[in-house]
């Protein structure tokens, strides 16, 4: 009787650990991508968008508007890669400063930097996978 309950307990625990291991694999990957992305952010994004994603006045938009970022998720790889020249509205303000393109960034680097931005400054967008970025880039206008 005692052995049986021990057996069932161990089995349940194993299933629980296995289930969580799958979950945390994505968490680990998100963390890895974000660390790589932070370095890229410092090089390519931080001058304009700021160390805390705060932007600068009405010149450069902040990266703290989660609603905008979530709504534009499929467009974000294109914006990073090709820049943006049409005005955008963020947190009620219109920004019309042209964002320069970053043609040197590879798809995986775009996944890194978006994972960093998407999980910093109060954003919770989870992992941007390489596949997701490649798919989005293929659909850029």
């Amino acid at each position: 009787m005692r052995n049986a309950s021990l057996y069932w307990g161990t089995t349940l625990l194993s299933i629980y650990i296995l289930f969580h291991a799958c979950q945390s694999e994505e968490t680990i990957r998100t963390a890895q991508y974000a660390v790589n992305g932070q370095k890229l952010y410092k090089t390519y994004c931080m001058n304009c968008h700021g160390a805390k994603g705060e932007g600068l006045g009405d010149l450069y938009p902040p990266l703290t508007d989660s609603t905008f970022l979530i709504g534009q998720r499929e467009q974000l790889p294109c914006i990073v890669k090709n820049g943006i020249s049409s005005p955008i509205e963020i947190q009620g303000k219109t920004f019309d400063t042209e964002m320069p393109p970053n043609p040197q960034l590879t798809p995986v680097e775009i996944a890194y930097v978006l994972t960093y931005i998407g999980n910093s400054f109060g954003n919770e967008m989870g992992l941007f996978t390489l596949e997701e970025v490649q798919e989005a880039l293929a659909a850029c206008n």
Partner: protein, 214 residues
Amino acid sequence: MRNLLFSLIGSCALAVSFGCNNQTSKTLPILGSRDPVTKVVDGKTVTDTLYHSIPDFRLLNQDSVFIDNQQFENGVYIANFFFTHCPSICPTMQRNLLKVYEKYKGDERVKFLSHSIDFRHDSPSVLKSYAEKLGVTNDQWQFVTGAKAAVYNLADSYMVYTKEDSNVPGGYDHSGYLLLVDSNRHIRGAYDGTNDEQVQLLLDELAILLKEYE
């Protein structure tokens, strides 16, 4: 022996207090080259030092008005060199200078002077739009443009490196220094505008410099 010990302690205490005094009455150096000038005054030969100073300038500001050194002679000012569509160091430098501007907004003893090194693109109207979007709401911070030679030569006298270079992002290479200039056109401090610690040093030393005018 005991006397010796006392005098030793005494001189140590004196040294410490003297050291402290030096700290509180710190004056900023005058940066740049200095030339000895020898002249005859009342039949005696006197040697004086001629300090490096900012030469005369006349540049167009964001309101299409010519401004010159006179606008900056009633206090101190902070100068830098930038261009509006600069993708590299300028936004960081201007973000940091904006903090200083916001702290001294309304204090007419402190002025700000940003020179555009993009003489092709940065017309007064472009500078005006940039200033407004940055958050500059009064004439304490001036944005100026001028002929390439005028601005680039002026950069040399501010000891700032500027160069047109198609190989760098944005097309112009330059250093991101913030220069603290006194009412006698002398450079009293140079700070890396992209480095938070250096910008804090600027804030500290600006306060020290302003004490000279109290």
